[in-house]
Symmetry: C2
Subunit: 364 residues, 2 copies
């Protein structure tokens, strides 16, 4: 091999990879776009255009530190990739984030890496979007009362995503059974936080921007410790807690209510009394995963459901994206989290960053 | 939640991640260190300190484009991570590298990402090091004649790694049955390329630097198209080709010879006549993987070996790292590539980069 030719060939091969940090994502992602991207990802799973590869899980310290690797291929976006997300409970005491990780996205035409995205920062968006896709499809489109159970890190994202798809929500009730003071604190600052964190990235010329601005300015936000009463008056309910026993009793839930159960993602987790699966039309993001680690696991263990009876939301979306709500039917979406959400949201951020030449670009 | 506290908490959480490009690796990695790191990784696998998680493979276009995801945990280095490597044959015509990918490394004490490393650039080092670990353990330490079969991208790395561990090699013979002119061209420029590419990163005060400088200046390099004769005169043989049928016949191989078969990493690949496994003491990097996709697959198919009889090199290294050569015994190491090699090499590069504040550091 001629040395000069060899060196020349090497210098020709420019591989540009983009890095998107937490603060890049704050300026690049807007909920209307992320919700659409996650809807497409679910739909692609339903049509076979989205493929999930086996998940890898490792626990470093029992109930204290673990990690998982999720990967997949979103053909409609010409993107495949891998996410590694770790959780170290002791980090909080060290002044470090508990969740850390990256999503790396590759181009299916060349195999070149498109970029690396902060996975922890992406998680709020893609998980908020999951609940919003389900509510847009299944909830009463005229719903006025939203109940959020759990005032943790997910709450802000879940509420903003729900407001984005439910234009008539005028009352948000926040319940946190473990730390009621967190619900009170969140209620006090909610509209300010939502406005500051999520409105700036929405196109000011889009109708949704004006509508959300108005909706936020008129929003009534209340903290409550009466979960029974809050459940009875809600038309849309989001649970986002690490609970391991049912908090919501099924006879509290009114006909026509839609629930998004976000918290359950491990064996032993539960947020809602499993008998709700007897009457609610239920949907999952991934059949096998929901049966093992989702809210659905409890209904399966109680023999109320069988794994092969579960319907993936992607199968429904593959048929129609039109709202399916009927007045007397309860619906439930069990979100356990799939790689295609992360790939869709990360790819969206990377494409927006390319247009705006945002983030760090590195010739790998 | 108090907004001020929340903002303060966010700004405290600095997560620094380092990116190492192909040219960073060229200035950071030296073969003596990479060989030691890969030896430790194999040893860790033998003692259970190194864990490999299931491999994920996807083919985009049959025989034209694929990718795999390999991951694992190297406890001795407090590092775990994931590598995604893609191969797109059509890239060469597009002026793009055929191999692309990244290795991402995380700290097992916090879950924080340590860095992202160009996986394609790492591959030459970690694969060269694999063969060198085996030769240091199994080959005649006084060997003077090295045969390399295959003059492709791996050849430079394999030769330099062998010279690093075999101080008496004075003759290198290069055979390429498919493209003999590549062997001729490589032979002409070999010592210059090795000196320019690999000597600058070795500590000039280390004994190995002076020895390699001298060894390279006296090296006789020959291209040959007579594989039978080249095999008969070699004491150490490295095969690094994409061959799918045996090139080396077992009766050409002399007693006391050590072989590293590097090429086979997919079903249907073969470089050496499988009857060699009847007489050679053979070792593999990973039992299951070698049995399925390594050189070993052919001996298993021919009923010369059974999977449960295979010995991992890590099991041998866990007992002793002393050279095991005996004059009349042929030995063979079947290298298929495991995530622990990539994690070891990437982690080494990241730690050296931290000391030298090299690469790009990004607050993720």
């Amino acid at each position: 091999m001629d040395t000069i030719f060899w060196l020349f060939a090497k210098t020709q091969e420019v591989v540009i990879m983009r890095i998107l940090t937490s603060s890049d994502l704050q300026t690049l992602l807007d909920f209307p776009s992320v919700i659409d991207a996650v809807e497409t990802a679910y739909q692609d799973k339903g049509t076979g255009q989205g493929v999930i590869w086996p998940m890898i899980y490792h626990e470093f310290i029992s109930d204290q530190a673990d990690m998982d690797i999720r990967s997949g291929y979103l053909k409609s976006q010409h993107a495949y990739g891998v996410k590694l997300l770790s959780w170290f409970a002791e980090n909080e005491a060290k002044g470090l984030p508990e969740l850390n990780g990256t999503v790396t996205i590759y181009d299916d035409q060349t195999g070149l890496p498109k970029g690396v995205v902060n996975a922890a920062a992406l998680t709020g968006y893609r998980t908020g979007a999951a609940g919003a896709v389900a509510s847009r499809l299944l909830a009463n489109p005229d719903a006025t009362n939203l109940l959020i159970v759990g005032a943790g890190a997910q709450a802000l994202y879940q509420i903003m995503a729900q407001l984005t798809v439910l234009p008539h929500i005028s009352t948000v009730t926040i319940v946190d059974l473990v730390a009621p003071q967190k619900a009170t604190q969140l209620a006090e600052t909610l509209t300010q936080q939502l406005s500051e964190q999520f409105l700036p990235t929405i196109d000011t010329h889009a109708a949704v921007y004006e509508r959300l601005t108005t909706q936020l300015s008129h929003l009534t936000v209340t903290a409550s410790d009466d979960l029974e009463n809050a459940t009875k008056t809600a038309q849309v309910i989001v649970t986002a807690t690490p609970s391991t026993k049912a908090m919501i009793q099924s006879d509290w839930v009114q006909p026509g209510t839609h629930l998004n159960t976000i918290g359950a993602d491990m064996t032993g987790k539960q947020e809602v009394d499993e008998t709700i699966f007897k009457t609610a039309n239920s949907y999952v993001d991934d059949r096998q995963q929901a049966a093992q680690v989702g809210e659905t696991q409890n209904a399966i263990r109680a023999n109320i459901l069988q794994e092969d009876q579960l319907t993936e939301i992607g199968d429904l979306l593959a048929t129609s994206t039109q709202n399916q709500w009927t007045p007397n039917q309860m619906t439930l979406f069990d979100s356990t989290g799939i790689a295609l959400q992360d790939i869709a949201a990360a790819n969206l951020a990377l494409e927006k960053a390319e247009t705006l030449t945002a983030g760090h670009s590195i010739d790998l």
